[in-house]
């Protein structure tokens, strides 16, 4: 009925639209092609959701919903001492007070100020409490218990819903995706964590041992535990960490209240005789042990329970132990009320059934790597775990404090609990900050110790930041050499980007979300359960055990737990979906049928990956031209498509229940959905590649890694930022050949690269092994010119004895000019903006008081307390210079100097130094097709080949890069780019689409060029025509961050390590260049013994020792302390490391004695 209404309405509207001759500037003749224009849903989707919607949704859910749940679960604080006392949390809010508006949070410090001043971008957490003071009950509102770090662009962030102009006022970039935190001035991202789904049964088998096991990881707010139902030698047991032994399954079921063997058989095997045969052996086990009643079974289990009792809790009987084990520890996510174990018994029976089924048919095991069995944990969930832990600790501390005070018999004034609550308030703030800034998530409740949860947001380029926000890290160990979790799963189609994963050890474990992926948040179970019963599912608690597993009966499972049965699963699912499309159920609740398990699964839990698809009904797409027109005219948003039932979200499991057509022409009668746009299977980073569907797939993966290293524009606020290291391109260009993704992620507004004119030819031999030849004139004109900005921070400390660091002024020589070291300084002792600074010059002339470490009390100062002036004078003389000196191979310019006050009232000085670099020999460049190369030679323009038009290339690339790499996309980019240049258009290289190569060739011919993009070139040196036609045109080239200037290193003499006296290691320590094992082998094989001696000893750690030929040990100053003589002392040179070894051996009671003799 309802749907017909909607359809009628739609038809009416569509008809009305048609009646109008000119519709919002569009005449009837403007065709709207549903097949082509449906991609407009994608920008609409991104407009509503943004690129990092998963983070924002998750955080918003945490702050608005989850936080309240946590507080509700821990709302009471009672005292052990005073039974009349209580404190109850009524409400919790972040960022606004009880009389405030949740939509308009309090004004916080702007995020950019937090970045600059090394502060944390956070908002106060307010609670309302009700507590007793004496006899009175008092309600106190807006008590601040700490500060919550705010995710940028979340609904608690001041940037939420701002216009571009307002963003500019706040020094923020409107294109910045948000979704990260600012803690102590650094931007931190909580990466998405991939896990096996919680509270679901997973059946696995170990082929070798013949073990089949069903396991479920139960996870609630209170506890986390894992329960196994395991088959061993044909017998089935239950295994749990807190039960010392495996318990026969029949005993467990009896303990859970299913006493009758018949009922057990019915619940596990139904009426299937094959399953009954497999299972029947288990009954013997129970009868052998003489366990027939529930009480006997509970006692049996009670004896096996590992008891970990807290100090003051009373000792339990064996029966109680057993009851508690069944009630709380086994399958802990099901709560037991009034000792009604039926639900739990059914759950265990279901697990057992799955084991039995798998024993019969091994194909029924679950795939751990299947994306539908995974859940993604986002910032919100992780924060909620952390907050609950901290909140509990906060309450415990508060309670302990209360008890301490309440214990005291007499009190002067009436006890007010609130006076004691604020003391610990820093714990919550500090705990949250510490966890986010270090990335160590340690929760005592779950014994969880996770490191590396957060990462510093990479601001190398806009794409790097964006790529980080979509990254998913897996919990699997990186070191294990298994292929399963790393492989590309078919179920990841459309959900995770197939190209964007790192190479090397994390390959396949770190993934990236595709463009349209959404991650669900938790939905309430109760209404869905109710709805199921209304739709005709029979309540499981009322069902007869005999009927549950009869043929044709389907179980209805909600979040993995059976809640009912139905005999009409298809109808049930159809109705349920219908209601969801009408908006009666949340769009993110998924439903699918599993025929093997005879089950209808409804999932409403958070962390599932899903994506929107267009619904197809009766072989027709529900999205019609009229709808798309409304979208174009800004009447409809993406959510309207959702609420009108034209588009719906499918998760991985439900996708398997659907037949999804790629294009409209692929629709068959059974089709249920159609893709919005095929290129959305790629992520934001892989979306930059033009014509990726023509490339060899690893090349796209390489580009995904390299796109993040490309230097370009970072954000509109890039010149306002003071980052540790910032790379910027002077003249970034948007690519000639772009993709729809590029426009969607706004890469064309913050690009990273140049449209270089490339000639694919060999030149001079300095282009072998992927080296590139650059045109000097291009470089002169600004090609690849970039800036490197480096931050230098200094804090003017205050010391306990009331002294503090100062900045002293600039020193001048006799002529009044500043001395060399102070050349960049101004009068105030800080470097002046714009001044050049050479290596060895200082940018902050900081001075540290020499008596800083002296204590406040007891020092000599205490005596002169009545002579403050003299003391002041003393102070001035007692400063030691501790300047910040610039060191670098190349001079820099002072870009910005900032002086502010940080968190702890200490002055904070940040100096930003800038270098402008032109490309040089050895700098790294790459195209967008995983083709990287270093600059091998810079050639003058007149030496470069030139075409009929007088064009000489910016880059010459060796053609050997093509055959083995098979990057056909790069060639197509060149042809499309060339056509675009000639025609004056930007061309598209969108995946599975883009400008057609034939069209592009036609344009080339039209403009008088060869259809294949090959031109006749003349040699620049001889002026003669080249004998081959040269593939010649624009290709987008990125300059990568690896520059020679940052890597060049040489050393003649320099520092040595203290212990071994060998040269230090590494560029940063001005280390030596190691003559390694293999090099040593060469020298040995060649026979250059003197060279060997020089390299390995004389140039390294030669040391003269006195050897006593008498005892063979080392002496000193011509004296042997062992022999007490100087008779047999011989001087010789050995490596210091050898001397060290001998001494270490001596220290271990081994005497290495040197026997010397002549070799020749």
């Amino acid at each position: 009925m309802g749907r017909i209404d909607v359809e009628m309405k739609d038809a009416d509207e569509a008809f009305d639209d048609l009646l109008e001759p000119v519709y919002k500037g569009k005449s009837l003749t403007d065709p709207i092609d549903t097949a082509k224009d449906k991609w407009n849903l994608l920008p609409a989707f991104l407009k509503v959701k943004g690129l990092v919607k998963q983070h924002l949704d998750s955080y918003n859910f945490f702050v608005d919903v989850d936080l309240r749940k946590i507080v509700k679960a821990n709302q009471l604080v009672l005292s052990d001492v005073d039974p009349s006392f209580y404190l109850k949390y009524l409400d919790i809010r972040v960022g606004y007070k009880s009389n405030g508006d949740p939509k308009r949070p309090e004004v916080l410090l702007p995020p950019h100020e937090c970045r600059l001043r090394d502060l944390t971008y956070s908002a106060p957490i307010y609670v309302d409490v009700e507590y007793t003071r004496g006899k009175k009950i008092i309600i106190h509102r807006d008590l601040e218990i700490g500060r919550m770090p705010i995710m940028l662009r979340s609904n608690k962030c001041i940037l939420n819903g701002r216009t571009e102009k307002e963003m500019a006022y706040l020094n923020e970039c409107p294109l910045d995706p948000g979704g990260y935190f600012i803690v102590n001035g650094t931007e931190k991202v909580i990466l998405v964590q991939e896990q096996l789904s919680k509270n679901r049964i997973i059946v696995e088998s170990d082929g070798k041992k013949g073990i089949v096991q069903a396991s479920v990881t139960s996870s609630t707010h209170e506890r986390k535990s894992k329960t196994y139902v395991i088959s061993k030698n044909g017998k089935i047991f239950l295994k749990h960490n807190s039960i010392s032994e495996e318990v026969p399954i029949v005993i467990v079921l009896k303990a859970a209240g299913i006493v009758s063997d018949l009922e057990i058989l019915q619940l596990v095997c139904g009426d299937d005789s094959v399953y009954q045969d497999i299972f029947s052996v288990n009954f013997e086990e129970a009868s052998k042990l003489g366990i027939f009643t529930q009480r006997e079974a509970l006692e049996y289990i009670g004896r096996k329970v590992k008891t970990v009792r807290r100090m003051n809790s009373p000792k339990l009987t064996i029966l109680q132990e057993g009851t508690e084990a069944i009630a709380t520890t086994i399958v802990a996510h099901l709560t037991v009320e009034d000792l009604d174990f039926r639900e739990k018994a059914l759950y265990i029976a279901t697990m057992t059934r799955r084991v039995v089924m798998t024993m019969h048919n091994p194909k029924l095991i679950d795939d751990r790597d299947y994306a539908g069995n995974k859940r993604l944990e986002l910032a919100g969930q992780l924060l909620s775990l952390l907050f609950e832990d901290l909140f509990k600790k906060f309450n415990n501390d508060f309670k302990a404090n209360l008890d301490k005070i309440l214990k005291k018999p007499s009190r002067a004034s009436e006890f007010d609990a609130l006076l004691h609550i604020n003391i610990h308030s820093n714990n919550v703030t500090a705990g949250l900050n510490r966890a986010i800034s270090t990335g160590n998530w340690s929760l005592k409740r779950f014994k969880m110790e996770r490191a590396g949860v957060t990462h510093v947001l990479s601001r190398l380029s806009y794409i790097a930041a964006l790529g980080m926000m979509t990254r998913i890290s897996s919990q699997f160990e990186k070191s294990r050499k298994v292929s399963g979790p790393r492989a590309l799963q078919p179920s990841q189609f459309g959900m995770l980007c197939p190209a964007d994963t790192p190479e090397g050890e994390a390959c396949g474990l770190v993934k990236n979300l595709a463009l349209m992926t959404h991650i669900t948040t938790d939905n309430e179970e109760a209404p869905i359960r109710k709805l199921c019963y209304l739709l005709g599912a029979e309540d499981i608690s009322l069902a007869d055990s005999a009927t549950i597993h009869t043929n044709g009966t389907f179980g209805v499972y909600l979040n993995g737990t059976m809640i009912g049965t139905t005999r009409y699963p298809i109808e049930f699912v159809r109705k349920f979906r219908h209601l969801r499309r009408r908006g009666k159920v949340s769009a993110f609740v998924s439903i699918h049928t599993n025929v093997h398990q005879s089950a209808v699964h409804i999932a409403a839990d958070g962390g599932r990956i899903c994506r929107p698809l267009i619904i197809v009904e009766n072989g027709k797409s529900r999205v019609k031209a009229g709808h798309l027109r409304k979208l174009k005219n800004d009447e409809w948003r993406f959510d309207d498509f959702l609420s009108h039932g034209l588009v719906e979200y499918l998760d991985v499991n439900e996708e398997n229940d659907s037949l999804i057509a790629l294009y409209e022409e692929d629709i068959v009668p059974a089709t249920t959905h159609i893709e919005i746009e095929p290129f959305t299977i790629l992520g934001a980073v892989a979306g930059l590649i033009p014509y990726p569907h023509h490339n060899q797939s690893p090349r796209n993966t390489y580009q995904c890694a390299m796109g993040k290293q490309a230097i370009g524009a970072i954000g509109y606020n890039q010149f306002r930022r003071i980052d540790t290291l910032l790379y910027l391109l002077c003249y970034p260009e948007q690519p000639m050949v772009k993709t729809k993704t590029i426009e969607l992620v706004k890469y064309d507004q913050l690009p990273a690269g140049h449209n270089a004119t490339v000639a694919v030819m060999s030149y001079s031999g300095y282009d072998i092994e992927d080296a590139l030849i650059l045109n000097k004139a291009s470089i002169d004109r600004g090609f690849g010119r970039c800036q490197v900005l480096r931050k230098n921070t200094s804090v003017l400390k205050r010391y306990p004895n009331h002294t503090k660091d100062i900045v002293s002024g600039m020193r001048v020589d006799k002529e009044g000019k500043p001395i060399f070291q102070h050349a960049a300084l101004g009068q105030d002792g800080l470097a002046e903006v714009g001044s050049p600074i050479q290596s060895g010059q200082m940018y902050i002339n900081k001075c540290v008081p020499s008596n800083a470490m002296e204590s406040v009390v007891g020092g000599p100062q205490q005596n002169n307390r009545n002579q403050p002036q003299e003391q002041q004078q003393d102070h001035e003389q007692q400063f030691r210079e501790a300047p910040m000196v610039y060191r670098g191979p190349e001079k820099s310019y002072v870009d910005q100097v900032m002086m502010t006050v940080g968190d702890n009232d200490q002055a904070l000085i940040k100096v930003l130094l800038r270098q402008t670099r032109r490309p040089e020999l050895g700098d790294k460049f790459s195209s967008r097709h995983g083709q990287k190369g270093v600059c091998g030679m810079i050639v003058k323009q007149e030496d470069m080949p030139f075409s009929d038009q007088g064009i000489s290339p910016d880059i010459i690339m060796n053609p050997h890069g093509f055959p083995s790499r098979m990057t056909v996309g790069k060639m197509m980019e060149l042809v499309s780019g060339k056509a675009g240049v000639l025609r004056g258009t930007l061309e598209y290289g969108t995946c599975f689409g883009g400008s057609d190569l034939d069209d592009m060739s036609k344009v080339l011919v039209e403009k008088g060029f060869n259809y294949g993009g090959k031109d006749m070139l003349y040699s620049g040196t001889t002026g003669e025509a080249l004998q081959a036609y040269i593939f010649f045109g624009p290709i987008y080239y990125q300059k990568l961050k690896h520059m020679v200037l940052d890597k060049m290193h040489a050393r003649a003499r320099g520092p040595r390590a203290v212990l071994t006296r060998q040269p230090t290691e590494g560029r940063s320590r001005d280390g030596g260049l190691r003559l390694g094992e293999m090099e040593r082998d060469c020298v040995i094989a060649y026979g250059a013994s003197q060279l060997l001696l020089e390299r390995l000893m004389l140039s390294s750690d030669a040391f003269d020792v006195d050897i006593c030929q008498g005892c063979g040990l080392m002496g000193y100053n011509g004296w042997c302390p062992m022999c007490k003589s100087s008779e047999n002392i011989v001087k010789m040179t050995i490596p210091y490391a050898a001397k060290l070894l001998f001494q270490e051996l001596i220290s271990m009671n081994i005497a290495p004695r040197l026997k010397l003799s002549d070799v020749f």
Binding site: A777, T916, Q941, G950, L1004, Y1011, Y1018, G1023, L1026
Partner: protein, 340 residues
Amino acid sequence: MTDLGSNIIGIEEDRVTNTHSNDFPAYSQSIGSGWDLEAFKKKFQLNVSFITERTANFDLIGLDTSIANAYRRIMISEVPSVAIEYVYIFNNTSVIQDEVLSHRLGLVPLKVDPDLLTWVDQSADEKDKFTDENTIVLTLNVTCTKNPNATKGDNRPENLYRNSNVYARDLKFEPQGRQLETFKDHPVVPCDPDILLAKLRPGQEISLRAHCILGIGSDHAKFSPVATASYRLMPQINILQPITGQDALKFQECFPSGVIGINEKGEAFVKDPRKDTVSREVLRHERFKGKVTLGRVRDHFIYNVESTGAMTPEEIFFKSVRILRNKAEYIRNCPIGNVN
């Protein structure tokens, strides 16, 4: 195999043949004039197709590739011109950094006759380095302010602010010493006054002084007096068999318009090969196989010289000839050259 003596470069579908030049002594007994002056005089032609203020297009016919290429190379890299080389920044509060602004300034082509300046002696003392003979001083002083008379509702920065865009025309010439005299009639200005140098917002200002000196393109591209200086070879189309009817139309389409004409018999003929861009499109089609060959005349160079504006293009070319002559002179007088 093409005839060794032929001066036609073969344009084939997949390769270019007979590219090597041969008009130099001792290449062969029979081929080429071997730099015989009389023969050269007879053969050599110079045809000018057009010369404008900025562009010159002319043909040089009958000279060896090496010489033709030498002119091209010299025009690009060795004909001196004047550009900003030293920038002294007093204040720059714009978003564009000092180095980048200086770089942009350097690339602005200036209308200065390079003959009026002498070379800067790089070895001289910093104090005596720049004189009124070798240096031109330009200043740029721009401050952006709010426009009090801005029309309401117009939010373009040009309306809201004064001096929101800094253009090349804002560079002001400051004559030094005798320059008042020498540059009286033609003060130093940028060739293209509309080059955008920087954008400003109220409160921002740029104040700098720039020294322009003489330099050559091989030192930095900004000293190159040409935007492009290059040549192409004269295309040649040989119709071997008559092409008529529909084929003729198709044949015509394979070339840029005006290259192929169709006579009253409906037969295609080569009207103006100079207009051909040698796209080789005709070679792709099976139906023209064997009916046409393409080629280019190896000693017919169609030069195209685009000046940046400081000098006229013909002047640049003449200078390149002069420089080449001086080089030849130098080598002739070189001690090594005079051994025998």
